[in-house]
Symmetry: C2
Subunit: 156 residues, 2 copies
Amino acid sequence: MGIDGLDGRLLELLAHEPRIGVLEASRRLGVARGTAQARLDRLKSNGVIRGFGPEVDPAAIGYPVTAFATLEIKQGQGADVRAHLATVPEVLELHTTTGSGDMLCRLVARSNADLQRVIDLVVGFAGIVRASTAIVMENPVPLRIVPLVRQASREG
Amino acid sequence: MGIDGLDGRLLELLAHEPRIGVLEASRRLGVARGTAQARLDRLKSNGVIRGFGPEVDPAAIGYPVTAFATLEIKQGQGADVRAHLATVPEVLELHTTTGSGDMLCRLVARSNADLQRVIDLVVGFAGIVRASTAIVMENPVPLRIVPLVRQASREG
DNA sequence: CTCCCACTGCGCAGACTGCCTAGTGAATAG
DNA sequence: CTATTCACTAGGCAGTCTGCGCAGTGGGAG
């Protein structure tokens, strides 16, 4: 169920040069085209590769402010709150976590002032007891997977 | 600097069917191929589209546990801590946030037990004063961008 | 020893990409 | 009012890649 060295190198290659084709990838990896194709197909059907969606930078479309909000939810209101948050476009991501029935969500906004509007939108809902927000200043490590892939392929 | 309706529809299309080609996209959008190509090129050089990296599911490569850790940093140790965390493969993402010199990072681990090892790795570093961790149980809203794109293209 | 599987190396038809040209309509500047 | 600019349409061309299939090879498992 893990990934081997070849899978790892293929993933790294795709992460670094996403628009590369199967043929070019096979050349870089030093294997036959069929092999690269088979590996790629397997990674996709395995669920290792979820997809190749475009990575859109929220800042570039007018939402330069990112924040994380920790929400405390009233007992039994979880489903309602999830449904509510799913309707807010500025909520990019939502997790339920351990702890006192908490949720953690990632928000974006057009400005610090606009963030207030977004937060009001988010917490202006019956099931939410309390919210604490942390505004992101810097992002020293952007979302990455290559180091993990490398480790996984070494160990697996 | 924003995106218009056509950009928005193109982004949605790409998000939904990432491996679609320019030609097919132009057909679906009802525009000429050159137009679709020009829009796509512009979105890329604008920085709106950062890339088309494969989305790898950590769970599928043996890291099914996700957690968020809030770190409190000793004054002046920020740079060292960032450098330290950047070397840990299980740290998928790191943000510095407002508040008491805090950082927020996303971690993955092979199991709940393994998470202890990862946390020790992360916090076993001089500059970190305190860490509080929340284990993710569910992910009702996975990272998404389409709703925001739709809103941005309506307003822009 | 035999079977099975992954990999290699090859070829084919179809489709797509990058690049170019010419013409149109709308908005803008003079 | 006219000239210019810009985005878009529509088409063409050469080169390349993809999806697919086929035969052959080598190593591991039963």
